[in-house]
């Protein structure tokens, strides 16, 4: 028998502190779906995804009811589509729309993997594939797209960085409020088993089909910290570890059971603190609970470093296999504490960049002025990729140059994507730097063999 404190603690975490399983993501290999032309390939992709993921939503819903814990999203990630359509890259949007129809039929929330991995060089078929990304995002609802432009091992493909800036601008123009950009992310050191969007794809090193689970619960961590206002930071880190352990154990349970019932291997638990725009579900508020007057002030990077590390340490003990991005996310539009700090000018773009040195990913869900030049977006990505490359971590950029919007305006994305005040970016031009292209060489410490 459990004691009443334990039972009530779990129920309060779920009902009052927003503990949830953020996503059960099924990774599906599409390598067996390559056919002689785009139409046949699109049909094979549709059939394959529908067959593999047929039971994903009902199984996740059943588990949610049995355990009494919400499973917020059900998602699918697939092999980077650029590999599937290499023989007919211009026609890749046919596959994009087939995937979107499959997502719709299955009742899942997002499908990721309209992706290309170009961290060392952009092959010709990949360049042609990348040109289809804006159209693919503009003609689908649930599809997400990503590009890996660099790695600690290979350096940064600056030609791809330049191209991504242009693609972000094009996508913003083609979709209302630029929302297509919320479904497009560029990485350095992308991981192959990430269950979170927009960057989920199913790596070629993965099994045919796999279940990855992303857990969440910033509200639980904040709540736990609120009981120890006088604790020093060593004690606070210990408390975060213990809390992350419990959260991750719930994720591990759901992941293993979902994998068993679906008859596919369990992949990883991604032990991330992923905020939502709901009050009480904010990573920013954890940092403020630690003693910052407002997120974005001096001390924010240190507090985030401690949080990110403690989450990993607690989570690693709780799961047999951890992976994905694992840490604390800092998406501006998806976190009420971040939104409010951005609205009052307390958090700046530069501070966010500093925070990405120690958080789990990167510059995420930031609305920027609609007239930001493509080369500036590329330069933002170059800075972020450099941080990832040199520090051996995943970094990413998901910015939305909202068409017609200026600093001080707000962009509303709705749902989990939230709302974002348009933040200023530096206006000094990077045009010449970005137009140079080439490869930014990998750091010397990448040569470990």
């Amino acid at each position: 028998m459990f004691n009443s404190t334990e039972v009530i603690e779990t129920i309060d975490m779920i009902e009052k502190e927003h503990l949830d399983i953020r996503t059960v993501t099924m990774g599906i290999s599409l390598l067996s779906c390559i056919r002689g032309d785009a139409e046949q390939t699109a049909r094979a992709v549709y059939d394959h995804v529908v067959r593999r993921a047929e039971q994903l939503v009902p199984t996740a819903e059943q588990l949610s009811r049995e355990y009494g814990i919400p499973i917020v999203n059900k998602r699918v990630s697939v092999t980077p589509v650029s590999l599937i359509t290499a023989a007919f890259p211009e026609e890749s949007p046919l596959v994009a729309r087939a995937l979107d129809r499959a997502a719709d039929l299955l009742g899942i929330d997002f499908l990721g993997g309209y992706s290309a991995l170009v961290h060392k060089a952009t092959a010709e078929y990949e360049a042609r594939f990348l040109s289809t990304v804006p159209e693919a995002l503009a003609t689908t609802e649930k599809l997400c797209s990503s590009v890996n432009v660099g790695s600690s091992r290979s350096g940064i493909n600056m030609d791809a960085v330049k191209r991504v800036g242009e693609l972000v601008k094009e996508t913003a123009q083609l979709t209302p409020e630029g929302i297509g950009c919320a479904k497009f992310v560029a990485f350095c050191n992308a991981v192959e088993d990430n269950p979170f969007m927009a960057g989920a794809f199913h790596g070629v090193g993965e099994a045919d089909c796999v279940i990855n689970v992303g857990v969440s619960g910033p509200g639980v961590v904040q709540h736990a910290l609120s009981f120890v206002p006088e604790a020093d930071l060593t004690e606070a880190a210990e408390l975060i570890k213990r809390t992350a352990f419990k959260i991750t154990r719930a994720g591990q349970l759901v992941a293993k059971e979902a994998a068993r019932r679906l008859g596919v291997p369990f992949g990883v638990v991604d032990l991330s603190l992923a905020p939502t725009p709901a009050r009480g579900d904010s990573v920013a508020h954890i940092l403020e609970e630690l003693g910052l007057e407002t997120v974005g002030g001096h001390g924010t990077t240190a507090a985030l470093a401690m949080l990110n590390d403690a989450v990993k340490k607690g989570g690693v003990m709780a799961s047999s296999r951890v992976g994905g991005l694992s840490g604390a996310f800092i998406p501006v539009s998806e976190d009420i504490g971040m939104i409010e700090a951005a609205e009052k000018g307390a958090i700046t773009f530069d501070k966010l960049e500093a925070m990405t040195c120690v958080c789990s990913v990167g510059l995420d869900m930031i609305a920027i002025p609609g007239d930001t030049p493509a080369s500036t977006i590329s330069a933002i990505l170059a800075d972020e990729a450099a941080i990832g490359m040199v520090n051996n971590k995943t970094t990413a950029v998901r910015v939305i140059p909202a068409p017609g919007k200026k600093v001080g305006d707000t962009v509303n994305f709705g749902g989990l994507l939230g709302r974002a005040p348009v933040m200023p970016v530096h206006t000094g031009s990077a045009e010449k730097f970005i137009s140079r292209g080439g490869i930014l060489p990998a750091p010397i410490h990448s040569f470990k063999n």
Partner: protein, 89 residues
């Protein structure tokens, strides 16, 4: 298979009777009960054995929540593993 039943809300007469009858009708056996009243707040935790219940746990949980609404209480039925996972190493 064991499950944990929790009942919370404002205290009134007949809560245990209602919940026990519901469980009995589903062929679920009560193994342990702990109950407290704090002010006018009622909180009860039951460990139950649902191995002879013919319905799946998800539908029992849904029916229990509905029965709870009828009597003005929050009633949850959850597989014990969620508590095992979070509180037992």
């Amino acid at each position: 298979m064991k499950a944990v039943v929790t009942v919370t809300g404002t205290d009134r007469k007949g809560i245990i009777a209602q919940v026990s009858s519901f469980l009995c009708a589903k062929n679920i056996n009560i193994l342990d009960i702990s109950q407290t009243i704090l002010g006018d707040q009622f909180a009860m935790i039951m460990m139950v054995d649902a191995s002879e219940c013919t319905e799946d746990l998800a539908s029992v949980a849904a029916a229990a929540a509905e029965m709870g609404r009828d009597i003005g209480m929050s009633v949850r039925v959850q597989h014990e593993d969620i508590f095992n996972a979070m509180h037992r190493v």
